[in-house]
C-alpha cells in the first residue's frame, strides 16, 4: 500500500514535469541547449488574415512534424508582402513593394531570432538567388519598363555591394519585357531563366524554354539558350525556375500552364530540361515530359531531395487562369519525380489541395516539408518521404501558409 502511494506520487510528479515542459515547448523560446549546435527551423509565414488582409511574419520553431504553429503573440511582424531567402546562416526578408527594405535575421546563442541589419533598395524585387554563404543576388523588375536592376548583396555586412542595370536580354526590335524566373550562379556563370511580358497581351511566347547565360561577376552576356521541347521556364512571383541536384546539374521547371498564370496557352507539354554541371546548354538528350508522366498534370513546383529524386506540386486541371496558385481551388497533388528514370509517382496521404504564390519547401534528410491547404482541414505542414512517396500531416498552421522554410544554427554566422 505504502509502496503504491509512493509510486502514484512519482507518477503525478512526472506528469506535472511533462506538462510543464510541454507548455514550454509551445512557447516561443527554444529548448535550453548550448550554443553552436542548436538548430531551429526559421519560417517566413503569411497569415491569411481576413479577406486578403494578410500579414507576413518571421518565426522560429523547433519542429515541423507535430503540434501547432501559431502566430498568436509570436513572430516578428513584417511590413507588406515579403519574399525570403536563406544565405549562410541568415534569413533575409525582402520587402516586395510596400516596404523597400531587406532585413537580415539570425538566431542568437539561445536560439531566439533577432534582426541583424537591414538595407533599402529602390523598386520591386522579383527575383533572388544565392551566390555563396557570403553573398546573394536580388533583381528589381517592373511591368512598366524592360529595365531592371541586379543587386549584388553582401550577406555579412547586409548591404548593397553592386548595382547592375540590365534588361536580361534585349535583341533589336524586341519590345517584350523579360521577366526573371530566378538567378543561379554556378562556375562563374549566372543563369537567368526568363519569360516574355507584353503590356497589352500579358505573358506571351510560351512555347520556348529560355535561359540567359552571363559570365559572372563580369556580367557579360554569353548567350541565350532556347529549347522548343517545352514551355517557358518559371512562373510569376517565384524564383525557382531552376533546381540544382547534388551533382551540380540544373533541372528546369516549365509549367506550360494557364492555371499557373500563362494565359497565352503553351502548345508544349509541361516538363523538365537539364543543364549539366560544367555545361551552359540544355542537355539535348534529356527531357522529362512531366505532363505525360503524371497523366496530364502541370508542374508548378519542384524540390530536389537527393539521389535523383525530387518532389513536385502538380496542378491537375488547367481550365481556369491562375487557379493553380489560388488557395481556394483544390487542384493540386504532390508527386515524387525520379529525375534519372523520368518517372512520376503520386504521393500517398496528401489530399487534393489549394495553391500558393511562390511555394516554398524544405528538403531535409530525404524528406520535404511543404504547406498543404484544404478547405476542410485548413493549412498544415506536410512531411513527404521521397523514397516511399508517402506524405503525413505534420504541424498545423493556424490560418497561415509558410512562404519560406529555412533552418538556422543558433549563435549566428
Amino acid at each position: 500500500m505504502y509502496k503504491n502511494l509512493f509510486n502514484i506520487r512519482w507518477v503525478v510528479l512526472l506528469a506535472s514535469v511533462a506538462l510543464i515542459s510541454g507548455c514550454k515547448n509551445d512557447s516561443d523560446s527554444p529548448d535550453p541547449e548550448g550554443p553552436g549546435e542548436k538548430s531551429r527551423y526559421v519560417l517566413a509565414i503569411r497569415s491569411y488574415g481576413s479577406t486578403n488582409q494578410s500579414t507576413d511574419y518571421i518565426v522560429a520553431v523547433d519542429t515541423l512534424s507535430q503540434g501547432t504553429i501559431s502566430l498568436k503573440g509570436k513572430g516578428i511582424e513584417q511590413i507588406g508582402y515579403r519574399t525570403s531567402i536563406q544565405v549562410g546562416n541568415r534569413v533575409f526578408s525582402v520587402g516586395f513593394s510596400t516596404d523597400q527594405t531587406c532585413l537580415g535575421y539570425e538566431l542568437d546563442n539561445s536560439g531566439n531570432l533577432f534582426e541583424k541589419g537591414k538595407f533599402t533598395f529602390e523598386g520591386q524585387i522579383f527575383s533572388g538567388g544565392v551566390i555563396n554563404k557570403d553573398s546573394f543576388l536580388l533583381m528589381e523588375a517592373i511591368h512598366a519598363s524592360p529595365n531592371k536592376t541586379l543587386y549584388v548583396i553582401d550577406a555579412n555586412d547586409i548591404s548593397i555591394r553592386r548595382k547592375i542595370p540590365t534588361t536580361i536580354y534585349q535583341s533589336a526590335g524586341d519590345s517584350y519585357n523579360k521577366w526573371p524566373a530566378g538567378l543561379f550562379v554556378r562556375d562563374e556563370k549566372l543563369f537567368i531563366p526568363y519569360f516574355h511580358y507584353d503590356s497589352n497581351a500579358g505573358y506571351v511566347n510560351t512555347d520556348t524554354a529560355l535561359v540567359a547565360v552571363y559570365s559572372y561577376p563580369s556580367m557579360q552576356l554569353d548567350k541565350v539558350i532556347k529549347d522548343p521541347r517545352t514551355s517557358n521556364i518559371g512562373m510569376y512571383a517565384d524564383f525557382n525556375g531552376l533546381v540544382q541536384a547534388d551533382n551540380g546539374d540544373y533541372y528546369s521547371v516549365s509549367t506550360a500552364s494557364i492555371a499557373c498564370g500563362f494565359v497565352n496557352k503553351s502548345t508544349k507539354p509541361s516538363g523538365i530540361l537539364r543543364i549539366k554541371k560544367g555545361e551552359t546548354d540544355f542537355d539535348p538528350d534529356y527531357f522529362f515530359n512531366v505532363e505525360q508522366a503524371t497523366g496530364g498534370g502541370k508542374l508548378s513546383k519542384l524540390v530536389y531531395v537527393g539521389n535523383g529524386l525530387a518532389v513536385a506540386r502538380i496542378v491537375t486541371s488547367d481550365a481556369v487562369a491562375w487557379a493553380g496558385i489560388s488557395i481556394s481551388q483544390m487542384l493540386n497533388k504532390m508527386y515524387v519525380l525520379d529525375l534519372n528514370n523520368r518517372t512520376a509517382k503520386e504521393v500517398a496521404g496528401v489530399p487534393l489541395h489549394g495553391g500558393q504564390y511562390s511555394t516554398s519547401a524544405l528538403a531535409e534528410n530525404g524528406k520535404v516539408y511543404i504547406t498543404i491547404y484544404t478547405l476542410n482541414d485548413g493549412a498544415s505542414v506536410y512531411e513527404i518521404d521521397a523514397a516511399t512517396a508517402t506524405g503525413k500531416k505534420g504541424a498545423i498552421l493556424e490560418s497561415a501558409e509558410v512562404s519560406g522554410f529555412f533552418k538556422l544554427t543558433a549563435g549566428g554566422s
Partner: protein, 786 residues
C-alpha cells in the same frame, strides 16, 4: 486666383447696389426676447398667428420676421421654462415694426427655472436620433478648420496623412470613409471635389454641425451606414460680413470672406463665400535616409518636407428671393473651386516623391427652393438640385528619384514615374447631378410625415497620356436613388417623441474591365428601416433609443478607383448594417453652474463591410465579410457663469472581425473576433477655457483656451498576431494645444493666436505617416452685421 478676386469685387458691388431694387409691398417685424430681469433669451419661438410665419430668437434674443403683409396680428412667444406670451402687433408696408418681449418664468410647470433657453444646437441634440451638435459660432476666432473642430467631438476620428490639404478619412464610431455621408445644408456632398472638403472649409462659413451617429433621419436622403454629418451654414436672417486671415507655421495662409446681404423687406438675399488656403506643409519629419550606394540606414534624421504644398480656392455665390408667396426661399447659386496638391510620399514614408502632383477643378451651379404651407397648411416642400463638373488631373511623369534631403538622380529609364512605377498623366472628368426633394406634412400639433427622394447620377471618364488607366476610356456611370418616408409622433405632452421610417436604395452601375473592352452592368436595390424614440424624464434629462437596418451602396471611387492610387473593384457589394443606439442627455443649470452630460452606447453589426486595404503601393476597396462594433462614449461639459468652461470626452469602440470562415473554408479563422486592424479604438479630448469680459478695451473680450487630444496605441495589422515587441503600431498619441483670443468693439475686431502640438509630440497616422509638430497660427478677423 486673380479671377476669384474679380468675382469677389463683383459680389461686393452687387451687394452694395441692392437697396432700392424693388418696390416693397410688405413690412416686417423685429425685436428682442428678454427674461423678466432683462437677460437675452435665445431659442424662443416667435409665431405670428394669422400670417403663418415664425422665427426663433437668436443669440442675443433678437428675432426678425420678414415679408409680412400689412395688418394686425397676434404675436405669440413661447419658450420652455417660461410662460407663453401673446401680444397684438400691427405691421405697416415698407416698415419694420420693432418690439421688445419680456417672458415671465414658469414656476408651475417646472420644478426649477431653466435659465438658458434652447438654441438650435441644443434642439438638434435633443432629437431622438443619436446626434451630436457642435456650435461652430463659438470657434469663429479659432484658426482651426472643420476637420480639426470635428476631431474634438466624441466618436469622431479624422485620420490625416499630413498637413493642410492632405488626404484624410473621417471615422465615426469606427465607421469611416464613405460609410459616413456629408451634407452641406442638407445637400449630399457627393463628388463636390477635393477643394470643398472638411479640411478646406473654414469655420467661419459654418453655423453648426449636426453629427448623426448610426441612424440618419430620412430628410438627409442617404444610404449612410455609420452616420451622417450635416454642415449647416450661417442661418441668420441678417446681413453680415466676416473677413478673416490666418497665417502661421509652414508658410500657411488661410483667408476667408463670408457675407450676406439680406433685404428683408424686399425679400432679396445674396450670400457670398470666398476662401483660400495655402501651405507649404514644410514641417519636419523623422526619416531613415539610406546610403545611396550601400542602402544602409543609420538611424533617424530630421528633415523638412519639401514637396507637399497645397493650394485651394473656393467661391460660393448664391442669390435669390425670400418671403415670397410662391417661395419662402428660392436661390440660385454657383460654386467654383480648385486646388493643386503636391505629393511628398507614397502610402508609406520610405518612398519620397519630389515632382508628382494633382489638380482638381470643380464648377457647380445649384438651385434651392423652400416653401412652407404649400397649398395647404402644414405642407412644406424643400428641393435642391445641383450639377457638378469636376476635372482631376494626376501627374507623375518625372524621371527623378528623390531622397529625403531633396537631392535626386535622373533615372535613365524613360518609363518610370515616381509613385506607381510607370509614368502617368491622367485626367478624368466627373459629372454629377444631384437632386433632393423633401416633402413634409404637419398633421396637427403632434404628428408629422416626411418624404424624401434623392437621386445622384455620377459619370467618370478620363484618359491617360501614357495609356494607363484604360478603364476610364469609356464612361463609368453610377446612378443612385434613395427614397425615404417617416412618421413622427409626440405623446405625453411632447415628452415622448418617436419616429418610424423606411428607406429604399437603388444603385445601377455601368463600369468597364481593365482595358475598357467589356462593359460591366450591375444593379443593386435594398430596403432599410428603423425607429428612433426619445423620452424627456425631466426638463433637464432625456433618454434616447434608436435602431436601424440599412445598406450603403458602394461609391464611385470605391468601384472605379481613381486610376492612380486606388485600384478599381467593380464587384463590390453593398454594405449592410444593423445599428442600435442608446443614450442619455442631461443638461442642467445649478445657479451659475451649467452642467451637460451626454453618454451613449452603440452597437453595429455589419456584413460585406467595405474597407480600404493596402495593396502594394496602392490601395483597393474590398468587402470584408462581417464585422461588429460595440462602443461607449461620454461627453461632460461644465460652465461657470460664462467665465470658466471645462469639458472632456472619451470614446471606446471595439470593432471586431466576425468573419468566422474565410474563402469557403470550414476551419475557423485565427483572426475571427480579432479587432479590425489600423483603426483607433480608444480616444478622447479635454478642453478648458477662461473668458474675461471687459478686458483691456471697455468691451474687450479675452479668451484663453487649452485643449488636448488623446488616442490610445493601436496596431496596423491584426492585433493578436505576432510578438508584441515587434508589432507595427501607431503609438499612443497625446497632443496639447493652446490658444488666446482677444475680441473688441462688439466683437468686430478679433485677434487670436493658436499653438498646436505644444509639446512638439511625434504624431502619426495611417501607415505611420508623420504629422506636423509644433505650429503657431495667428488669425485676424473682422466681423460686422446689420
Amino acid at each position: 486666383m486673380s479671377k476669384l478676386y474679380r468675382w469677389l469685387i463683383l459680389v461686393i458691388a452687387i451687394a452694395c447696389c441692392m437697396p432700392g431694387f424693388t418696390q416693397s409691398v410688405t413690412g416686417s417685424l423685429s425685436g428682442h426676447v428678454l427674461s423678466a430681469d432683462g437677460e437675452a433669451l435665445p431659442g424662443a419661438v416667435v409665431t405670428l398667428a394669422g400670417a403663418d410665419k415664425n422665427a426663433v430668437s437668436e443669440e442675443k434674443g433678437t428675432f426678425t420676421i420678414p415679408g409680412v403683409r400689412p395688418g394686425s396680428y397676434e404675436l405669440r412667444v413661447t419658450m420652455l421654462g417660461y410662460k407663453p406670451l401673446s401680444k397684438s402687433v400691427s405691421v405697416t408696408a415698407g416698415r419694420t415694426t420693432e418690439l421688445e418681449v419680456r417672458l415671465e418664468p414658469d414656476q408651475v410647470s417646472l420644478k426649477e427655472v431653466v435659465v438658458a433657453g434652447k438654441n438650435q444646437v441644443q434642439q438638434a441634440r435633443e432629437q431622438a436620433f443619436n446626434v451630436a451638435a457642435i456650435d461652430v459660432k463659438k470657434l469663429y476666432n479659432s484658426s482651426s478648420d472643420m476637420n480639426q473642430i470635428l476631431n474634438r467631438s466624441t466618436g469622431i476620428r479624422i485620420r490625416e496623412d499630413g498637413g493642410l490639404g492632405s488626404n484624410f478619412t473621417f471615422s465615426l464610431n469606427g465607421f469611416s470613409g464613405k460609410q459616413v455621408k456629408f451634407f452641406l445644408d442638407g445637400v449630399p456632398m457627393d463628388n463636390f471635389g477635393s477643394s470643398l472638403t472638411l479640411n478646406n472649409i473654414p469655420a467661419n462659413l459654418v453655423e453648426r454641425v449636426e453629427i448623426y451617429k448610426g441612424v440618419v433621419p430620412v430628410t438627409l436622403g442617404s444610404d449612410a451606414l455609420g452616420g451622417a454629418v450635416n454642415i449647416i451654414t450661417n442661418q441668420t436672417n441678417r446681413s453680415y460680413l466676416d473677413a478673416s486671415y490666418t497665417f502661421g507655421s509652414f508658410n500657411t495662409h488661410r483667408a476667408a470672406l463670408t457675407g450676406r446681404y439680406h433685404d428683408i423687406e424686399r425679400g432679396f438675399l445674396v450670400n457670398g463665400n470666398l476662401f483660400h488656403n495655402y501651405s507649404d506643409n514644410s514641417y519636419k519629419v523623422d526619416v531613415e535616409i539610406p546610403d545611396p550606394n550601400t542602402g544602409k540606414v543609420n538611424g533617424l534624421t530630421k528633415v523638412r518636407r519639401f514637396h507637399d504644398a497645397y493650394r485651394s480656392s473656393t467661391l460660393m455665390l448664391e442669390a435669390g428671393v425670400t418671403g415670397k408667396k410662391f417661395a419662402d426661399r428660392l436661390m440660385i447659386g454657383l460654386t467654383v473651386s480648385g486646388n493643386r496638391k503636391e505629393v511628398q510620399t507614397a502610402s508609406i514614408m520610405n518612398i519620397v516623391v519630389g515632382q508628382a502632383h494633382s489638380t482638381d477643378k470643380t464648377l457647380m451651379p445649384s438651385l434651392k427652393y423652400l416653401k412652407e404651407n404649400l397649398f395647404i397648411k402644414g405642407l412644406s416642400l424643400s428641393a435642391q438640385a445641383s450639377y457638378n463638373e469636376g476635372r482631376v488631373t494626376t501627374i507623375d511623369t518625372s524621371s527623378r528619384k528623390y531622397d529625403w534631403s531633396g537631392n535626386y538622380v535622373v533615372r535613365t529609364d524613360p518609363n518610370l514615374g515616381e509613385i506607381s512605377g510607370g509614368k502617368t498623366h491622367f485626367t478624368y472628368s466627373d459629372k454629377t447631378a444631384i437632386g433632393v426633394a423633401n416633402l413634409g406634412y404637419e398633421a396637427g400639433e403632434n404628428s408629422s410625415f416626411s418624404f424624401n427622394y434623392t437621386q445622384i447620377n455620377f459619370r467618370r471618364q478620363g484618359t491617360d497620356l501614357y495609356d494607363k488607366n484604360a478603364t476610364f476610356k469609356q464612361p463609368n456611370i453610377l446612378d443612385k436613388k434613395v427614397m425615404g418616408a417617416s412618421y413622427k409622433i409626440n405623446l405625453l405632452d411632447s415628452r415622448w417623441s418617436t419616429s418610424v421610417f423606411a428607406k429604399y436604395f437603388i444603385l445601377n452601375t455601368y463600369t468597364y474591365n481593365w482595358d475598357a473592352s467589356v462593359k460591366i452592368a450591375a444593379h443593386n436595390s435594398k430596403p432599410g428601416y428603423g425607429i428612433a424614440t426619445t423620452y424627456h424624464v425631466s426638463p433637464s434629462a432625456q433618454l434616447k433609443a434608436s435602431f436601424e437596418n440599412t445598406y450603403r451602396m458602394p461609391e464611385s471611387t470605391e468601384i472605379v478607383g481613381d486610376g492612380i492610387s486606388i485600384i478599381r473593384n467593380p464587384g463590390l457589394l453593398p454594405e449592410e448594417s444593423t445599428n442600435v443606439n442608446l443614450g442619455i442627455l442631461f443638461n442642467h443649470a445649478y445657479g451659475k453652474h451649467l452642467v451637460m452630460l451626454e453618454a451613449g452606447g452603440t452597437y453595429r453589426n455589419i456584413h460585406n463591410l467595405i474597407r480600404q486595404q493596402l495593396a502594394g503601393l496602392v490601395t483597393q476597396y474590398i468587402n470584408q465579410q462581417s464585422a461588429a462594433s460595440t462602443g461607449f462614449e461620454t461627453d461632460l461639459k461644465y460652465n461657470y457663469n460664462n467665465f470658466i468652461n471645462v469639458g472632456a470626452n472619451l470614446t471606446y469602440q471595439n470593432l471586431i472581425n466576425t468573419t468566422k470562415y474565410e474563402k469557403g473554408a470550414s476551419v475557423v479563422s485565427d483572426v475571427y473576433k480579432d479587432r479590425i486592424p489600423n483603426t483607433p479604438y480608444l480616444y478622447g479630448n479635454f478642453d478648458a477655457g477662461i473668458h474675461f469680459k471687459n478686458a483691456g478695451f471697455k468691451d474687450g473680450n479675452l479668451t484663453i483656451n487649452f485643449w488636448t487630444s488623446f488616442v490610445e496605441r493601436y496596431f496596423l495589422y491584426w492585433p493578436s498576431l505576432g510578438s508584441s515587441s515587434t508589432k507595427l503600431d501607431i503609438p499612443r498619441q497625446v497632443v496639447h494645444n493652446a490658444g488666446i483670443t482677444y475680441a473688441f468693439s462688439d466683437n468686430r475686431y478679433n485677434l487670436s493666436l493658436e499653438c498646436r502640438n505644444l509639446a512638439d509630440a511625434k504624431v502619426y497616422d495611417n501607415f505611420r505617416l508623420q504629422k506636423p509638430g509644433r505650429a503657431l497660427y495667428l488669425k485676424l478677423r473682422y466681423f460686422i452685421k446689420s
